[in-house]
Symmetry: C2
Subunit: 216 residues, 2 copies
Amino acid sequence: MGKVHVSAFAISLDGFSAGPDQSLEHPLGVNGTDMMGWFFPTKTFIDQHGAGEGGETGVDNDFAMKSMTGNGAWILGRNMFGPIRGPWPDDEWKGWWGDEPPYHVPTFVLTHYAREPIVMKGGTTFYFVTDGIQSALEKAKAAAGDKDIRIGGGASTVRQYLKERLIDELHLALSPVFLGRGESIFAGLDLRELGYKVEKTVPGERATHLIIFKEN
Amino acid sequence: MGKVHVSAFAISLDGFSAGPDQSLEHPLGVNGTDMMGWFFPTKTFIDQHGAGEGGETGVDNDFAMKSMTGNGAWILGRNMFGPIRGPWPDDEWKGWWGDEPPYHVPTFVLTHYAREPIVMKGGTTFYFVTDGIQSALEKAKAAAGDKDIRIGGGASTVRQYLKERLIDELHLALSPVFLGRGESIFAGLDLRELGYKVEKTVPGERATHLIIFKEN
């Protein structure tokens, strides 16, 4: 059976994984893209977004690439899927990623509002799960088979799964920036008591990579 | 004129710089010593505490050593000076560090309760300042002359000085551990808005060193 993991998850030095006031213009919240300074130049990101040739290889890229392999299903929070809050006004919004999202596998979106699945190009199907994080995880496990399940984010979703000790492994990419305000990944969460332990610190070109395991 | 700095200031990955429930047995709070895993093995620490020969050299030690040089005065919060809260019961308590503290210069202790200065061996004199952080800084500047002023900690003291933009430079030593609970250095402080910026990330043997400057 595959593992449940969070990978290439950017955090600022002050512990935020998104800036405040997410919107269509600011998918990661105001100033949130500052955390992604390590990711945007990588070959992985550039390939993934069809942004042309090139891109950097190295430690940061290795982590970015690894985060995209071996995943049989993804789970995303509603805010990671889009800026819309409350009931879906119509079927227009299909994620931030255009016709061909970078997932290529069944992707489960946590929401309080039911919606029909959306089949996208390249193998991604978005399924909308309204009965909680445990249910989404069961569905993702069934879809993933032997492969891994990646919890994509955002902060609130990751925190909910951490609180229930449902994540086996985390890879955080610490960016050397302050966001000052936004969504904290750590606040009010006692990861020590929950049994999480930092296994390894790996310096990258533009971020410090921290590998965290859940102890049994 | 010297700079006002915080150096070799240990923080956990979840942003704590002390564990909860500080006491005589736990000067850094419960589990707080986990953050010091990078510092205790250094030659600087071992020399400083007369703990015998040896100790490791390398990046972590270079930062530890640098933090101790060029300081003409120190400022410490009451909790960094000792575990006693409220009025001083007597003159017994003279800090955690024995007869010869590692400061060797005038050291100003923030407190709400007046007390006579204490002259220690090796050049350290503890002065007790009851009229606030600005006053302590002025006294420290007068004592330091052209040399630097180091704000030793703890978290609350550093946060108070940061909030007033009175710190020019910070060196944080990020330890790859979770404390889960304790005194957060970042919570509720918008360091971005205050004009602080991470200048450099330096991987050490057991900690990741972050150099932060105040922009003008």
